[in-house]
Symmetry: C2
Subunit: 192 residues, 2 copies
DNA sequence: CGCGACGTTGATTTGCCTCAACGATTGTGG
DNA sequence: CCACAATCGTTGAGGCAAATCAACGTCGCG
């Protein structure tokens, strides 16, 4: 189960046997039932999570309204940096949309790893840089594109998401209401 | 001039004399006139920039419309990670809103630094993590708050910005039109 | 079967944008 | 030093896209 992670990492940094062993030693596994919360607003996020199977949804709860910000499917990494790094309570929620198998890395273990093997500092740097870039891409999408353009881009970039995630979560992710997404889809088919 | 940078860094990592010397050795200085572009869309971003004095504005140009995304004032760090890391042309513009003094670190030099002194990997990791967090904060602001709430939060978080930056850039940063910001401000004073 | 969750559709409202005009201020050239 | 233009913020009128409110059909499931 760790093999997929190691394989993914091998595209970023090269680990020797000692480093690989130290890395594997701090993994911990967890299963999530459908709808179960991996992280609840108010709790402190103490781990970085690798999604082995299933799909997670990250959202804010604002006065009872859920604003979905991101989906994490197979091979994606999740954490709330803001809480993870500062130790402050998270304002985000993360929920399993399906039954999930995840691998977790706890903060205290990771800090040891950083100190003992600088190669993980490099991995952490590049990972954070990549996370920053994808967040920037989402930002650009939200500020520069119309709802319809956003939907089309999502359909192009992650078509499988539209199959496995309820439409009202997609709408929230796109920053619109379910009714509006329904109308956008209707407009699009009638225009083919 | 490098002292301010070293001081800021000292809050993140501790450098020994060798490391400090290596760091200082790769700095380069640059002055920007008001309205001058530090980075132009289409160019490759080859450096990380520290703002010693003045103020920069980061924006997208979409069909002639400028969408302002961020302001960088004294002691702030700027780069386009997307371009800097991949070597691809940037889609962002960065403009000096005032006469600026900046310190730059070029990619090739930084890569050497990373290889020679692991402490800079750590610095890079933490910097990227911080950048991610502030971008996440902006994201949350845009998705969870109304225009008026966004303006109030900005006025609370960075009041000096409202003094030194034209209002139409503030409006763009908040994701609204100048006329709308003007009306929001009017509503707010009449409600005191 | 009956209930709840989900997507769709219609009617209406609303908040922001667009377009336009107008002062105030700043800067510039004669 | 003043006339003039350009820039910027404000205000008003009107339009429009998405939100809101409401109702309904379908599907899956206890």
């Amino acid at each position: 189960m760790v093999d997929r992670i190691l394989h993914q990492i091998s595209g970023i940094v090269t680990l020797n046997d000692t480093e690989r062993a130290a890395f594997v030693a701090i993994t911990s596994f967890r299963s999530l039932r459908k709808h179960e919360l991996l992280l609840r607003a108010g709790d402190v996020c103490r781990a970085i999570t690798f999604v082995h199977s299933g799909c997670l949804r990250l959202f804010y709860n604002i006065d009872g309204v859920e604003n979905t910000v991101q989906f994490f499917c197979e091979n994606a990494w999740h954490t709330d940096y803001g809480s993870f790094l500062t130790g402050r309570p998270s304002s985000e929620n993360t929920q399993a949309l399906e039954a999930c198998e995840v691998v977790q890395f706890h903060r205290t273990d990771l800090e040891q790893l950083y100190l003992q093997h600088p190669v993980f500092e490099r991995l952490g740097r590049i990972s954070a840089e990549n996370a920053f870039m994808s967040l920037g891409a989402r930002n650009a999408m939200l500020t520069n594109q119309t709802p319809e353009e956003r939907y089309q881009q999502l359909a192009h970039d992650r078509p499988e998401l539209l199959q496995r995630v309820p439409q009202y979560h997609i709408a929230s992710f796109l920053g619109i209401k379910p009714e509006t997404l329904s109308r956008i889809r209707k407009r699009m088919v009638s225009r083919v």
